[in-house]
Amino acid sequence: MDAMLTGIGTGLSTVAQPINLLMVMVGCFAGTFIGMLPGLGPISAIALMIPITYGFDPASGMILMAGVYYGAIFGGSTSSILINAPGVAGTVATSFDGYPLARQGHAGKALAIAAYASFSGGTIAAIFLLLAAPALASVALSFQSSDYFALMVLGLTAVAAFAGRGNFLKAMMMTVLGLMLSTIGSDPADGMPRFTFGRIDLLDGISFLLLAMATFALSEAIMTVLKREKIADSAKAAAKGHIGSLKLSRAEVKEIAPSIGRSSILGFFIGVLPGAGATIASFLAYGMERNVASSEKKKLFGKGSIRGLAAPETANNAAASGSFVPLLTLGIPGSGTTAVMLGALISYGVNPGPQLFVDRPEVFWSVIISMYIGNIVLLILNLPLIPYIARLLTIPSHLLVPLVLFFSLIGVYLVSFNTFDLYMMVAVAGLALILRLFDYPMAPMILGFILGDMMETNLRRALQINDGSLSFLWERPITLAIMLLTVVIVVLPLVGYFRERRALVRAGEGG
């Protein structure tokens, strides 16, 4: 307990430094702005921020990232509510009731509910995180390389399993592609070149930033051009629209309070699970809230129910906090967004994992505390400023897209000062665009890419300790338990698939 209080003190004193407070605010604003743009999500927002934070202290960098993450989710909610165009998948459920509320002239109220729900969800989850992370970190200190290897296999499989019906194999394929890309460059142990095709530029491998920027920021921006999506028109409507009062009545607060409580807990635990995240949490919370509502209230869902808005908003923020648990304690990101953050941490020279808690307590605690501060900033500063931030979006998309492309390209160039990286980005973005059109998800690839190196290192170490035998997979109880869980995750979707297929065959025979 003492250690925790000391940690909180360390975190508070780090976050309270003026530069770090500024980081939270800048992060929240930038995140809100980028998250509002339909098509650009938190991964793009964070990736765009990485080059800016390279020279920063790791704690300041991570604080900025956490702010951007929250801001992007909030920004996504704002565009969901105002213009029914969720910037990110995690806020799709928000539009179900948020947009009808806005159309009824209660946009201000809907935004306020979203902000209060996000704040409450984030706050409750930050408290859980405060309690869970150090405990898990101390348990994780006893983990060996075989356990880590098993955990990474579990994390990668879970991401694919949560990718949605029919997408399991596609997500698995993308994970493998990410792992394959991570093997390009010098081999981590012997330094032998692999898949470099004689090019010196590839000896260091593909930079994570290049891959994240090309597959997210670049390809998402190009996708809006390809699909002729107009960012500006919808944003204009938001900027001109009267958002109405931001106040909630006492009865309304009373109505949403239990929903917020339930959804916070659900969201946090969903967020902790590797692979699940804000999107799944928000849909589950929405579904749960509709199930527990009285039949009279149930009718309002989808037509402007304030509970239907509060639940997913709470859950997606709580899940965002929850997803930091595996990142901070095990060094294993549970989602595409936290994978990008892991990449950022590694580039700062910080190795996340249980040792982070021991070696760099100021980073560990300041990230946790900054999440809370980020939520406060969103509530106090962003909410009243939303109409003005929305006005910034009236920059037409034909001016905005080239700027996003420029920031992505120059962001990568400023780190490597190698134009080869820029050619490679264009090629990777083109491939990513085509894969997106074929409905292949990008997040599992980033996760695979980031975990690839660590996975190989841990597998090698485990094999060396075991004289080259794979017996550690079943002889070590922790490893075995994690591997069994992985098998369950792989088998379940396949069983579902075959069951569905059999039912279809029967239906075909019957009719």
């Binding site: 792992l179 190009i222 001016l399 080239p402 420029f406 160039y413 400023l414 190989e456 060396q464």
Partner: protein, 162 residues
């Protein structure tokens, strides 16, 4: 052929090529007898990738009774392919010009080109949204943050700066 099958075939070929290339990785003399070599992980990945791609090929994801033509690859005719291709070329040209024409010239041309490709035709907007933005960004990077940006080899060759 459905979209899913085309994707599966692509990944099957990719996994095969990756697996073959993995066998070409050079090993240190003493490494050949070890349990884990630089080839181990790539070989395992090629196998896993091949199996997944094969499963995708034989187990189409949307295996339900289809209407005629549903799920077939119909192309993406309605998309703005020309603009996207033009942006791709523009980015490659930007990469080429960046170290040769220098940051300010190359970036201004890139933004101008991007705005033009996406349909902006008003010259005050074209110039106003590119050159001042680039100069301001250059000022922040090179003067405030002290990041060295090459003036451009062409100008240096002419004996000037940029």
């Amino acid at each position: 052929m459905t979209k899913d099958r085309i994707g599966a075939l692509f990944f099957l070929v990719l996994s095969l090529a990756y697996g073959l290339e993995a066998q070409q990785i050079r090993l240190l003399p003493f490494a050949t007898g070890e349990a884990f070599t630089p080839r181990t992980m790539p070989t395992a990945l090629a196998i896993v990738g091949g199996v997944i791609a094969f499963l995708m090929l034989v187990l189409p994801a949307k295996d339900r009774p289809k209407k005629v033509g549903e799920g077939a690859f119909a192309g993406w005719g309605g998309f703005a392919w020309v603009k996207v291709l033009a942006l791709g070329v523009l980015m490659a040209v930007y990469a080429y010009l960046l170290t040769r024409a220098g940051f300010i010239v190359a970036t201004s041309l890139f933004l101008l080109g991007g705005f033009l490709v996406l349909g902006e035709r008003r010259w005050p907007v074209l110039l106003g949204a590119s050159v001042p933005v680039v100069v301001a960004f250059w000022f922040i990077l090179s003067q405030l943050l002290g990041i060295y940006l090459t003036p451009g080899s062409w100008w240096v060759a002419f004996g000037g700066g940029g």
